[in-house]
């Protein structure tokens, strides 16, 4: 393990942007882990929701961007519903996703990929949602 710098100078802008876009105050988090404890999608996550918030607090944005977790979040709002600190973690997850996909060429789901991912029963709702969440 290498020692990390807490809130590296060159990450301040992006973290401020994420916080602004989410409208949430990450400093409210006291790391109780309730979000992670109840997250129904946590099985497939390499970073749990409370760890994502902690890494944001420490400015370790690269580790979040590299993780699968933000793409495993289904925006089910279970965490937001129960957070004792009134943080809407789903908003933060969305803001992180957007900082990535809003960069040109970074869309996670490309239009060409869609046909291979849908079947005849899949509702439009799924395709539109996926597109809204993964593509800009």
């Amino acid at each position: 393990m290498t020692r990390v710098k807490v809130i590296p100078e060159n990450k301040k802008n992006i973290i401020d942007k994420i916080i602004e876009m989410s409208g949430e105050n990450i400093r409210d988090c006291m790391q109780c882990g309730k979000c992670s404890a109840g997250c129904p999608a946590s099985d497939g996550m390499d970073l749990l929701p409370h760890q994502v918030i902690r890494l944001l607090q420490l400015g370790q944005i690269d580790r979040i961007v590299e993780s699968k977790s933000i793409w495993n979040c289904a925006s089910c709002f279970t965490c937001a519903q129960r957070c004792p600190r009134n943080i809407d973690i789903a908003n933060i997850m969305e803001a992180i996703r957007l900082t990535i996909i809003r960069c040109v060429g970074n869309s996670r789901l490309k239009a060409d990929d869609v046909p291979s991912k849908v079947d005849c029963k899949m509702p439009q709702q799924a395709i539109v949602s996926g597109f809204r969440k993964y593509n800009k």
């Binding site: 876009m21 129904p40 999608a41 789901l109 509702p123 709702q125 799924a126 949602s129």
Partner: protein, 264 residues
């Protein structure tokens, strides 16, 4: 009873989820409720845009809301996702000054829209406008001895501060609905747990695990049928195959309603 509402169907109901709509409209007729489909509704976007800087993705909801308000009617929704989006956008228009301003600047409606319209889900219409007691009286074929589990999913319940639909952890609206139709509601702990939603597009393995939990829980508590209000929930539950494994069928709540009212 003579009740008139503006009605917002949404894309999925016109294609893959026609059952959800057909049974809802037939039942409404029997119940003496006039649901007038809005003329120029547009797709709500399926997911509520969570970022504070999103405006364009909220416009279609506002158009529908403003139109219903103009007519002096409540707006009834049917698809859980549409309801979630429209209700939350409406709340933004009520409480978020910057969004209200930008949206109104863009839309240039005859009158500024400020969240005045009341948007209710079809289930809320049954509970709060018609009443489950009067509904029970209109049941022609009570669904006796059927053990039905409600699957709420996420979008109707959370975040409860905005949705104000029911207790987010211990809801009862669908159980009360099932009871009104003469069936036996079964409460099982996973009825409010997420099915995976749009992860269906890209993370099928995650969805599979999540739906498996739901079926296991339902099965353990003796559920024989699951009803839901969300096309994506229904798809995720069906595609998983666990329903067949556990002998649990999945349908829309409106299908149940139509059956009990004798219009199926």
């Amino acid at each position: 009873m003579n009740m008139k509402y503006s009605y917002y169907p949404g894309c999925t109901l016109k294609t893959k989820a026609q059952d959800l709509e057909k049974f809802a409209l037939d039942s409404a007729k029997t119940l003496g409720v006039a649901l007038q489909e809005q003329k120029e509704w547009q797709c709500c976007g399926a997911v509520y845009p969570l970022a504070t800087d999103e405006i364009a993705t909220k416009l279609s909801s506002v158009r529908s809301l403003a139109e219903a308000y103009q007519k002096g009617e409540k707006l009834v929704t049917l698809c859980a996702a549409c309801h979630h989006v429209i209700k939350r956008v409406n709340e933004d228009m009520k409480h978020k000054e910057d969004i209200r301003k930008k949206v109104n600047n863009y839309l240039q409606l005859p009158n500024d829209y400020e969240g005045e319209c009341e948007v209710i889900h079809y289930l809320e219409m049954l509970r709060d406008e018609i009443g489950f007691e009067s509904l029970a009286q209109k049941v022609k074929k009570p669904l006796k001895n059927r053990k039905i589990g409600a699957y709420y999913g996420c979008l109707l319940l959370r975040p409860s501060k905005v949705m104000k639909f029911d207790d987010p952890e211990n809801p009862s609206i669908i159980e009360d609905f099932i009871k009104a139709l003469g069936a036996t509601p079964i409460i099982y702990p996973y009825r409010t747990e997420c099915c995976g939603g749009y992860l269906a597009i890209d993370q099928k393995d995650v969805v599979e695990k999540m739906t498996q939990n739901i079926f296991e829980s339902a099965s353990k508590y003796g559920v024989e049928e699951i009803v839901t209000a969300c096309p994506l929930c229904k798809y995720n539950l069906e595609i998983s195959g666990f329903g067949d494994e556990n002998n649990i069928s999945i349908s829309y709540f409106t299908e149940l309603l139509a059956e009990a009212l004798g219009v199926k």
